[in-house]
Amino acid sequence: MATMIFYILGFILLAATLMCITRRNPVHAVVYLVAGFFALALMFYLLGAPLVAAWEVIVYAGAIMVLFLFIIMMLGLAPQEVPPGPGWQRWLPLALLSASLMICTLLLVLQDPAAGQEIGDFYLAPQALGEALFGRYALAVEIVSFQLLFATIGAFLLGRPLPKGEGP
């Protein structure tokens, strides 16, 4: 049963992402992406990562995507302001190359001896994850906190008002 749900969620994820990257309106794209992230969170749960699934919903769908929506609505990016991209004839070589690359990757992955082996039942309790995160990887957590501080400073500097004469 869980196996079937995993495949259904995988196809929901791929379909939502495909709809996302083809939308002209950025708001629609973000909403499709949120739907895909919910499917991805359930896949994480089925793969034995309940805490990561919760974080996927809280951080990705809840914070990052809302930040995207906020910026899109703040700038008022109406869909007609986005010019049409190059026609499909100009995409065709890229699409063929990407498709052949994808097929080669899938063939390589599926013929690998480890690929046939099954992922058994696995459940990592949040407590075990926290012990690993703040035990072995405590230094990485510190470095990430520094990185978030630097990102805050960078966003602050970029968000200052423009000097006179540099506007549109």
Partner: protein, 101 residues
């Protein structure tokens, strides 16, 4: 749950290719950033599947670190989007082709 490891990796690979094509095809900076998000999520899926396959917590720890890195990246990138919008009132990547010395 019993699925082959390769199928989980195949889903991650397909998701990564979708994100990469979004970055390559779309011309609006916001959609390029969304493509980057999709690729980062494909990496997360591969990490979690590997974590379940080898029965180790390390993969999930890396996904949490990846989320923190993504949050930092999105903060800076969206600040840059607002900056570019103030400069030229457009977000088409082709428009930003001049250098100012």
């Amino acid at each position: 749950m019993t699925i082959p490891f390769g199928h989980a990796l195949a889903f991650a690979g397909a998701l990564f290719v979708l994100g990469l094509s979004c970055v390559l095809i779309r011309r609006q900076i916001m959609m390029i950033l969304i493509g980057v998000e999709i690729m980062l999520n494909a990496a997360s899926l591969a990490f979690v599947a590997a974590s379940a396959y080898w029965r180790q917590p390390d993969g999930q720890v890396f996904v949490l670190l990846l989320m923190a890195i993504t949050a930092a990246e999105v903060a800076v990138a969206l600040a840059m989007v607002v900056y570019l919008w103030r400069r030229k009132r457009t977000l088409v990547a082709d428009e930003f082709n001049g250098m100012h010395g």
